[in-house]
């Protein structure tokens, strides 16, 4: 039924302790919250009650995962290859570049006052298409075509999104 990844017991073992630590941190945070007795709060209306219980549940589930992965010898971390192989490095680089571009656009360009949304979108879409399509286009001798396609994609996207959201549906853009 599933198409999910296979996860090693070692990965689960490490993740389990992260979950347990997180659950514990939530419990500590909840415990340290003001009980608001001066405002008439009782134990069962205290702000930290529900987060505390949720933290406890996450801690217990984390420990359960640690136990399960330990039974599958997940504690044997010595065999883990920490340096990724070349194929994995390519994937990590691709995802990393995308993340960088996404953060630069959504939180950088768009968030800054003075840069119109349409311009930020044009720069982002054009830049993205160029970065990820450039090598293939250049190898095929289509560098100019690739550049024009990227510019067209950027221009069309910024125009259509601005028109549809802002002008037709009256939705405020960043």
């Amino acid at each position: 039924m599933s198409t999910e990844n296979r996860v090693s017991p070692q990965a689960d073992f490490i993740a389990a302790w992260v979950w347990a630590a997180f659950g514990l941190a939530v419990m500590v945070g909840a415990w340290r919250m003001d009980r608001l007795e001066s405002q008439g709060a009782s134990l069962y209306t205290a702000p930290g009650l529900v987060p505390g219980v949720l933290g406890l549940v996450l801690l217990l589930l984390g420990l359960l995962l640690a136990l399960r992965s330990a039974r599958a010898k997940g504690y044997l971390l010595g065999g883990i290859r920490w340096a990724p192989d070349p194929a994995t490095r390519v994937v990590v680089r691709r995802v990393g570049v995308f993340l960088l571009l996404a953060f630069a656009y959504a939180a950088g360009l768009v968030g800054r006052g003075g840069i119109p949304f349409w311009f930020a979108t044009f720069v982002f879409v054009t830049g993205f298409v160029l970065i990820f399509d450039w090598a293939r286009r250049r190898a095929a001798g289509q560098a100019v075509k690739g550049l024009l396609r990227a510019l067209a994609a950027g221009a069309m996207t910024s125009f259509v999104v601005s028109l549809v959201f802002q002008e037709i549906f009256l939705v405020r853009l960043p």
């Binding site: 990844n5 979950w19 987060p51 768009v110 939705v171 960043p174």
Partner: protein
Amino acid sequence: MFSGLVAFAHSIWSFVTPESLFYVFGSTLVGLIIGALPGLTATMGLALMTTLTLKLESSQALLVLICTYVGAIYGGSRSAILLNIPGTPASAASCLDGYALARQGHAGRAMGIATSGSVLGTLIGMFFLVLFTPVLGELALKFGAFEFFWLAVFGVVISGTLTGDDPLKGWMAGFLGLFVASIGQEAIYAFDRFTFGSRDLAGGIALVPALVGAFGFAELLSVMKAQQAPVKINPFDSVIPKIADVLQHWKTILRSGCIGTFIGVVPGVGEDVAAWSSYAAAKRASKEPEMFGKGSIDGLMAAETGDNACVPGAIIPVLTLAIPGSAPAAVLMAAMLIHGVQPGPMIMVQSPQFVYDVVAMMLFATIGILFYGLTLTKLMVRVLQVPQTMMVPIILVLCTVGSFAIAGRLFDVWVMLGFGLLGFLLRQGNYPMAPLVLGIVLGDLLEKSLRRGLVLSDGSLVPFFTRPISLVIWVGIALIIALRFDAVSKLFRRRPLTTP
């Protein structure tokens, strides 16, 4: 019954206007494209359309969203059949036999089967929506704080159990979602929890940006990780559904419609489980189970009927309990609240006409998918050939706009990015997203119900365990959890007969 028919006819008539019909066909087409394109999920599509419809009148906005929802679940079958890539998780089961049929030169017939299954599945689900909503609404009026608390827990536990491969990880995702919902000012004393001094966090984590992140941005990260090769689509014949295919497989259609609707009613489970469950049931009941996975008409019909029947099914608990039956239904519920519609037990008392309006919207959406299923195949093929390098940045732009536009806060864009990264990392570890989202939706209900219940019972936990409906629900939760342990499930397994 007669008054119900009159109300339904009135609802249908109210949508027969040029504006409404434009929205029906426009949004169904948008839904179809969203569903067909890998990298765009129905949940994300609905979240973006929620933004687009903010300024519309509530009935028009919900019409757009329901048509988008139905279109998206149906649209996933296009890429499943033509490319062996599910456009949405709901169409994963359709890949098995749909693509096999396409490889045998029957892509057109497969698309016709998907169209007829989806149309009939939605109609069966609509029938149950009309039948069960008043009944469940009556039952829900008996629910108090104690019952709603257990219902919220049940939603997270059942969602974690049935989605993905690993219930333990599903529950962890669900309880994480419940925790995320507790961030911000709590309801009674407006005390800041886990805000770390941030004014934005004091407002809490908004649902729509979190959904866009978990289902949109996370999906884009997965698409960039996988990097698909350019698609090649084989030519295909007529896509018009054959009446013989429908008549020959009527039992499969009815069975899958019922299964899909029932699974839709279960909180947070959704269309992919509905499709797989219908597929598995059809295989068990089939006289040719060995054909499944090799181009079985029965298999494809079951998957497509089941996943589309789940759509009306998922709306039943939204209307009666204000608990979503699936992730897209969670967005629909959020949209209802934004537009001033209050789903929940009082809906049959305060606005019963609204339920018939929803059924009428589904009917129009069904007509929309039938129309596009018969006419729009060549355009869909072109859409599927749009390169990833073009599609991904455009979708990210839409994710950014969609997250920002609800409240006009840049903080929500950060939420989208953060949940996208979190969702991507959780997926790498095989943690399902649906329980996380359901936890965020149900967290407020769980907390309010628990605190209200404790105040009513003066701190006693006894009513939580002894009131009749609460008893049924918590015993159900305990059984669901206990059955995951081998020692307990062995007790319920049938022992083979031994000959003397």
